[in-house]
Amino acid sequence: MRPPIVSIDGVTKRFGETAAVDQVSIDIQANEFFALLGPSGCGKTTLLRMLAGFETPNEGRILIDGDDMTRVPPNRRPVNMVFQSYAVFPHMTVEANVAYGLKVEGIGGAELRRRVDEALAMVRLENFRARKPDQLSGGQRQRVALARALIKRPKVLLLDEPLSALDKKLREQMQLELVRLQHEVGITFVMVTHDQEEALSMANRIAVMDHGRVLQIADPRTLYEHPTHRFVAEFIGTVNSLDVEVRSVDGPHARIRHPLLGEITVERAAPDVERGVVVARPEKLRLDFSAPPVDGEILLDAVVEQIAYYGDLSFVFVRCPDGTALQISRYNVNRQDKGDPAAGSLCRVGIHPDDLLLVGTG
């Protein structure tokens, strides 16, 4: 494997007594679209700002393309950033904004013009070059910020919540555009986001952070289907969590006991998980009214409490006789369906042990 383009090595950043970033180590490979995902205050933005050079770690090192950048000021780092507020200079035209980073390098004349044209074309702003930022829409301003950073041909492009200021439709469009751009320019992107769908749909790999620590680094599918922590399982998507008693562990499996499920064998998320909760995604559960159980499925009696209809899918909230609440999601595939069960009706929930996962609570 090639050496990582970004290597974060045991980095800690404290603000006063609290550690905003706590012993974080991440390696990011060249050409990855890497996302730092977590709730606000988890330290993801601080980590990104340390990559850019706006904060200096208290401990640890940051290597970019093999060079130690820990103490290098931001203006001498081969990385560029797209700010959450875009930070487009209000007193300069679009063109001057885009040219700024090259001008400070002393690049001028024909090369400057050519590269500015190129960058503006890349974000489709050729016809807006003479405008001032206040004459642009939010999406256009973001593209200026993108072009302004990419024109520097950074080794890594840092994006701080790049889509959070846009409305829903524009956000979806820009998601696709950012991924297209990343393919086109072949630059490593590191994006900070609190939006799990955004991270899942855009990134190749995601680091999930909470309270300054990295809980799991994995590709989107692994994160969703094989979360190692209860926090990751609950932060990404929706999940049913059941407190269980672990009887024994054996390699990738664990023998667990739960009043509803009885004693069964389930997958273990990681070798160090010896206690914890069992999680099941709502779409993995089956709402059953009459049909017999499929092979190995456990059937539980339940009462439908509430329905949430989203159009493409519905969430059905049920309660088992012992008080356990579960949610099940169902795609509304057939237009001619009679619809969801009524609240109060009796039903059965099918759970397959293969869809259960024992995760740690730490």
Binding site: K13, R14, E17, G53, F54, E55, T56, P57, N58, R71, P73, P74
Partner: protein
């Protein structure tokens, strides 16, 4: 715990900027501190510390014309504050609330006293009172009326600015909620709008008070030869030579204004009293 290196925008952790800040504050405060300290110095001429005394305060207190001047200045400040606060508060509310022909002219004209050089306003008032035949020999406190008129003219625009800044943060939905709950226009003003304006009004009043106490130029030009006010009295004392009595009297005035300023600043903080 090890302190991390300053980040690129931690400008206040750069030694030269700290030094600059410190030097500026020394520049701003050293003369005042020296003045205050030497009002307690037991020596008339010597600038070296000779020992603590409150003699000059006693002497200032026994100086009848100084006391009279101080009393006049306080009276002027009080009257000016009350009138300025009312005028400024009403104006702020009117400009905040209503659209009317000539609105921008009223707005611009009411800001003029803030920017026009004091001396122009001073001589204008001097000429004005002379031309309308204002007689200086009126009984106290009427004899102060012309000075009060001048002080109000340059103070109420400041009050209006402060109150408008406060009103800018007002959510008109509160008034609508009040009316929705059955309150009349007046009740809404009395129980919703006015309480919201209150911190601004108090801050504006304190500002008007300090402005009036601190004014020298307008008073100097408006006051007749017989009306003594504190700044004019101090000015004539200074012209005859710096004396520790002047230091003592100045210290008292500084103490009053410092207190008023701190009060005004505290009341003006945006987080204070916001519902």
């Amino acid at each position: 715990m090890a302190r991390s290196r300053p980040g690129p925008l931690d400008y206040t952790r750069r030694w030269w900027l700290r030094f600059w800040l410190l030097a500026t504050f020394v520049f701003l405060y050293a003369p005042i501190v020296i003045l205050v300290v030497f009002s307690f110095n037991d020596s008339r001429r010597n600038i070296v510390w000779q020992g603590f005394t409150t003699d000059y305060y006693v002497r200032a207190l026994n100086n009848l014309s100084l006391l009279e001047a101080f009393g006049n200045s306080l009276t002027i400040a009080l009257l000016s504050t009350v009138i300025s606060t009312v005028l400024g508060g009403l104006l702020a509310l009117g400009l905040y609330r209503f659209r009317f022909p000539g609105r921008s002219s009223v707005e611009a004209a009411s800001a003029l006293p803030i920017v026009v050089p004091e001396i122009c306003m001073g001589v204008a008032l001097l000429v004005f009172f002379a031309e309308i035949g204002w007689r200086p020999g009126l009984p106290w406190p009427l004899s102060l009326a012309n000075i009060v008129a001048g002080h109000v003219a340059f103070s109420f625009p400041f009050v209006a600015v402060v109150v408008r800044a406060r009103l800018a943060g007002f959510d008109r939905a509160q008034e609508e909620a009040s009316k929705d709950l059955g309150a009349s226009e007046w009740q809404t003003f009395r129980y919703v709008t006015l309480p919201f304006m209150k911190p601004g009004l108090i801050a504006g009043a304190l500002l008007a008070m300090t402005l009036s106490l601190d004014d020298f130029v307008i008073t100097f030009f408006t006051s007749g030869p017989d009306t003594l006010t504190f700044p004019v009295k101090v000015y004539s004392m200074v012209r005859f030579g710096a004396t520790p009595e002047v230091n003592a009297a100045s210290t008292v005035l500084i103490a009053v204004t410092v207190l008023l300023t701190i009060l005004a600043v505290r009341l003006q903080r945006p987080d204070k009293g916001v519902a």
